[in-house]
């Protein structure tokens, strides 16, 4: 009887020890898995942000379309952008973002805000200046294109595309 009880006790202790071991191993494995889920969630959010930028850059209000040769992607029409800036009040709720900026990266003469007075020798266009600095900004490279003329229009016009960055801010959730 005592022998049987001893055997049962031994088995019970062994089962508890094995269970504890596998619980500890499982917790360790889960903590590693959870951290990789966090990384995946961050990557997904980044992907969604990039999709938003692509949607904006290719929307008719910004896109070059076929104006500068063949249909180009990641191309923003500088002249459309200036026109949009003048009428931005009609577009405030269209894209669901807080602020949109376009910065000329190369060649960069200055970072003056573009107006009808200094166009095109300016460096930055801010569409919603009242929301400047609000939210998180994401950015992508775009081509900023316009018609240019070294001798003044309409003499010898040509297509001029420069490197720029489209920056969009959205409110954090």
């Amino acid at each position: 009887m005592v022998k049987a009880q001893m055997k049962i006790q031994q088995t019970a202790f062994m089962l508890i020890a094995i269970t504890l071991f596998f619980v500890l191993a499982g917790m360790f494995f889960l903590s590693i898995k959870m951290s990789s889920i966090k990384i995946s969630a961050t990557e997904l959010e980044e992907k969604n942000s990039k999709l938003l930028l692509a949607k904006l850059a290719d929307s008719p209000e910004f896109s070059c379309g076929a104006s500068y040769g063949t249909q180009a992607t990641s191309c923003i029409d500088f002249e459309k952008l200036m026109s949009l800036k003048e009428n931005i009040a009609n577009y405030s709720q269209l894209w669901g973002v807080s602020d949109i900026q376009v910065w000329k990266i190369f060649p960069s003469e200055n970072f003056d805000e573009c107006t009808t007075g200094n166009y095109p020798s300016c460096g930055k266009i801010t569409l919603f200046p009242e929301h400047l600095g609000n939210g998180t900004y994401i950015s992508t490279f775009v081509s900023l294109c316009r018609r240019a003329s070294d001798f003044g229009f309409p003499y010898a016009p040509y297509d001029k595309c420069e490197l720029a960055k489209l920056m969009v801010s959205y409110n954090d959730k």
Partner: protein, 167 residues
């Protein structure tokens, strides 16, 4: 007495066996964990670099071909460089391409202590594998790490543009 000693020995044997099983399971788990967490040196695609390459190729250079105001894009300039042509002002198309890209990269991908990336490399090749001809390789800066992202753009006339950014 002898039976008691045999019982003690049996208990010890069982404990040793149990400990061995635990150790073997722990080693197997560790090996499995190491294999699953091993990072391979793969270049993953990046939409930011892809957008940069597309925008870079559309950039209007200072090289005019055929007439004084026919300034060509980087895309066209790469083709002109592959054909060893000269711009209207007498400069070699490959020199204009190289200078323009160097300045563009130094401004757009400026490597600083606070930047996320630690190096970049741009390669423009012409021809098909297995023996493409390298047109430009000296657009690079910083250090090459095991974590990188890149993108690739095929052009007409079998030119290919590869860009890699190291993090």
């Amino acid at each position: 007495m002898i039976n008691k000693m045999k019982k003690n020995k049996r208990g010890q044997e069982e404990m040793v066996g149990f400990a061995l099983i635990i150790i073997m399971v722990a080693i197997i788990l560790l090996v499995f964990l190491t294999i699953s967490m091993k990072k391979t040196n793969e270049i993953s695609e990046s939409s930011e670099i892809e957008n940069f390459l597309q925008s870079m190729l559309q950039y209007t250079s200072n090289c005019s071909i055929n007439s004084n105001f026919n300034f060509v894009s980087i895309n066209r300039l790469i083709q002109e460089c592959s054909e060893d042509t000269y711009c209207n002002d007498g400069t070699f198309s490959c020199d204009v391409l190289n200078n323009t890209l160097e300045k563009m990269f130094s401004v757009s991908w400026s490597i600083q202590n606070t930047s996320q990336f630690r190096g970049y490399e741009l390669m423009i090749l012409q021809g098909t594998s297995p023996d493409p001809v390298i047109l430009l390789t000296n657009i690079s800066e910083g250090i090459k790490t095991n974590t990188s992202r890149g993108s690739f753009q095929p052009l007409t006339n079998y030119e290919q543009v590869y860009m890699t950014v190291y993090y």
